[in-house]
Symmetry: C2
Subunit: 112 residues, 2 copies
């Protein structure tokens, strides 16, 4: 896990997959799979970084950053990720949204 | 507040402002301003919806959706929002990132 939950800036244009979700109750293997997916996505071609937040009420947003649109598309089709998507619908999520977007500009600020 | 934390799908192309942040300790007026900003953004031209999550450790991601790029730009310049941005740097955040992106495709799933 990165020291800061904030990813660095990556210089547009690049792509983001925004995954927003609402979890069901209980773990049911979710935590282990989430960690596995975090390791796996980091090995994908064109992967730049991610930011991921889940609130106590089970709402979550994960932003995964890729250099190219094709990189984002390829990640969706990775076999173990497809399996995670299937299990997500079967057990882990009440609902989710996936939005794929091209980042056109960015800025950031850090204290100190 | 919406019943579900997930925004509906809005039909691309549209724009997202992804605001990721790490809070400082304590409230210092943050909660009230966050609610005010949530009401204010909902009145902006071209505003479509938002999703917002904050974890117990202070990491947060908010996605605000707008029909056009100009709508997202205009929101950044709303006077009371500029004031909130100033106070954010002064007190509320350890750091933040803002990424403005054009949504090219989307899909979603809901249980039942």
């Amino acid at each position: 896990m990165p020291e800061s939950p904030l990813a660095p800036l990556f210089e547009p244009p690049y792509w983001v997959v925004v995954f927003s979700s609402q979890r069901t109750e209980g773990d049911h293997g979710y935590g282990a799979m989430a960690e596995e997916m975090e390791r796996l996505v980091a090995q994908q071609p064109g992967y730049l970084g991610m930011e991921s937040v889940r609130a106590a009420d089970g709402a979550g947003i994960t932003s995964a950053y890729f250099r190219a649109e094709a990189d984002a598309r390829a990640w969706k089709q990775v076999a173990r990720h497809l399996e995670a998507q299937r299990l997500g619908r079967e057990q882990w999520y009440r609902g989710y949204r996936v939005r794929v977007a091209k980042i056109e500009r960015e800025y950031g600020w850090d204290r100190e």
